[in-house]
């Protein structure tokens, strides 16, 4: 599938993002500039960046791929983030902006000073970002291998090197503008594909659905392996995909880049609208167009009659059908920009947790100078890059949706309960945070490992220990319940100092006072 146009456009994307990094590096010197772009990003810009951070290649291509194979889970992936962003707006964005400066663990540590809580929340944030990063690296390697014909390992190393350059030299400012650029080119790409699809069907959306339905009847029998096949897995995946959004450190970290709570609220509204529009187009136009036009076309199928490169490549093949090699090159470049933007955000969050929370606050107990912390930030960026590249290569061929669902499940079960209870429940104690967070983390990862996707498919056992790949419906309530129970039984609950700390935090989180 290697095309000179695609290669040229890939080089344009790389050159543009490196220019952005050079521009940002000249403006990034202090700790605040590195972690939070000096809180100088406007609400609209941040909304675009959040959209760029959230809409990963695996989500966009994966949704169309799911629909293409007759898996109705695609609808779940489209509708769930709407609830997640609504909850983020109502309960999280404003308090985070009012309380935090650089990272999410810092907000929890404001109420529970000391190293234990900080170390745990930073470690949980790292687990989520690393799993998400592995998913993106695996996706990047596979995509670039198919689109450009470069070996998988080379593709992973190229993406890893670029993300390291953006973050280590340009910090949050470069990451933000790479994400904004990606969001804009993604929206332009999706709108262009939609216009060409409409033209292909004579501007009659009804005929597109008629053709797609006829193709489904002829070719698809329906996928009975998806989450929607049982009420438990439907609710569990729905919870993970909606509430998990509110626990993703790389998305939450973006609220520190705006100057005030008002801009934080605006960020979410802009992000929500952009994400909704792109996701709706991907599901209701591009997925149906792929079903209508790609089945039965030998030029897009391999010898076994399966779509070349797998179902996830449905949108790429559709672009070739609609606009030839030029459009396919453009779409491939958009996907590449998408990958770069998401991995940059994830690296930023991981390096921030390592350098600011674990190194400066836990190990150096707040005694590290700004210069030492920034040096450590660059070392942490390098370390995250190497780990992500090695794991990306090691996990080659792993189901990307599974890795993403793992990140969302841990985010919903470990990060979100700790954050919400710290912000809103007066009775929470330090032990409640640690036990609740640990229960969410261990239960969600343990149940995922014991589920069919790992226990049977990866580890080769005959039967799974837990019958579902979706643990959130059990792990999240367990985390909340254990936090509550431990806090209720903890004598320190009535400690006047703890009560005062909560009152101060409540006032500051709501009023910014």
């Amino acid at each position: 599938m290697r095309s000179p146009i695609a290669i040229a456009l890939f080089l344009v994307v790389i050159a543009s993002t490196l220019l952005i990094t050079r521009w940002a590096a000249r403006r990034t010197h202090s700790r605040s500039e590195f972690y939070a772009a000096g809180s100088s990003i406007t609400g609209t810009q941040n909304g675009l960046a959040i959209a760029g951070d959230f809409m990963s290649a695996s989500t966009i291509l994966g949704v169309a791929g799911l629909a293409f194979t007759g898996n109705a889970d695609a609808v779940l992936y489209i509708v769930s983030p709407l609830l997640g962003f609504t909850i983020m707006l109502l309960f999280i964005a404003e308090p985070l902006r009012n309380l935090g400066r650089y990272t999410v663990p810092e907000v929890v540590a404001l109420r529970f000073a000391g190293r234990g809580v900080r170390a745990f929340t930073a470690a949980a944030a790292l687990v989520v970002t690393i799993f998400y990063l592995i998913a993106q690296m695996v996706g990047a390697g596979a995509l670039l291998e198919i689109l450009l014909g470069v070996p998988y390992a080379v593709a992973v190393i190229v993406v890893a090197t670029l993300m390291m350059l953006y973050v280590a030299f340009g910090g949050m400012l470069a990451t933000t503008w790479v994400q904004i650029t990606k969001a804009v080119v993604l929206i332009v790409g999706v709108v262009l594909l939609t216009f060409l699809t409409f033209r292909h069907v004579g501007y009659d959306l009804g005929s597109l659905y008629s053709i797609a339905r006829a193709q489904m009847d002829a070719v698809l029998t329906g996928n009975r392996a998806g989450a929607l096949t049982s009420m438990y897995s439907t609710l569990s995946l729905g919870l993970a995909l909606s509430l998990g959004v509110c626990g993703l450190p790389h998305v939450l970290m973006r609220f520190f880049t705006v100057p005030d709570a008002r801009q934080a609220r605006r960020s979410i509204v802009v992000a929500m609208l952009l994400i909704a529009v792109v996701f709706l187009i991907v599901l209701f136009v591009l997925s149906y167009a792929a079903i209508a036009f790609l089945y039965g076309k030998p030029e897009f199928l391999d010898a076994a009659g399966v779509l070349r490169g797998g179902a996830n490549m449905a949108v790429v093949h559709l672009s070739r059908l609609l606009g030839g090699d030029v459009l396919m090159g453009i779409v491939a470049a958009v996907i590449f920009a998408t990958i770069l933007a998401v991995v940059a955000g994830l690296t930023m969050a991981s390096a921030g947790a390592l350098a600011h929370d674990l190194y400066a606050q836990v190990f150096r107990r707040g005694a590290a100078s700004e210069a030492q912390e920034l040096r450590m930030f660059r070392v942490a960026t390098l370390a995250v890059t190497v780990v992500a590249a090695l794991l990306g290569i090691a996990f080659k061929g792993t189901n990307i949706s599974f890795l993403v669902s793992l990140a969302f499940s841990v985010a919903a079960s470990a990060n979100l309960p700790v954050l919400l209870l710290s912000l809103y429940w007066r009775g929470l104690t330090r032990r409640g945070v640690l036990v609740g967070g640990a229960v969410g983390l261990v239960t969600s990862t343990g149940m995922l490992i014991a589920g069919p996707a790992i226990w049977v498919d990866v580890l080769g056992h005959a039967q799974p220990l837990f019958g579902s790949n979706y643990p959130t419906l059990i792990a999240l309530p367990l985390a909340l319940l254990s936090s509550w129970a431990v806090s209720i039984l903890d004598a320190r609950r009535r400690d006047p100092d703890a009560q005062r700390a909560f009152d101060e935090l409540a006032l500051k989180s709501q009023a910014g006072a």
Binding site: T86, F91, G238, Q510
Partner: protein, 87 residues
């Protein structure tokens, strides 16, 4: 002190509104999830086959989310106006 007490009172009222909006959004979401699961039970391709059903469900959730965002935004603007009036 009076300012702090006013801010906390406003925050409590806002929290009640937020809980109500989140509750409505969650009910709309869970209701749609259950309809989707039932549709797949009858026919695995159901939600993809029946574009009107899926589009309607997504549109209702989208409208509820947008409505929540708009009501919350209006509430915050009103709070700001009251705060300015107090000064």
């Amino acid at each position: 002190m009076a300012d702090e007490a006013d801010e906390l009172r406003r925050a409590q009222a806002r929290m009640r509104l937020s809980l109500a909006l989140a509750g409505i959004s969650s009910v709309a979401f869970l209701w749609f999830l259950m309809l989707l699961a039932r549709s797949v039970e009858r026919d695995p391709l159901g939600p993809l086959h029946d574009v009107m059903f899926t589009a309607l469900g997504v549109a209702i959730n989208f409208a509820v989310a947008l409505g929540s965002v708009s009501i919350f935004g209006y509430w915050r603007r009103r709070e700001r106006a009251v705060r300015r009036g107090e000064r």
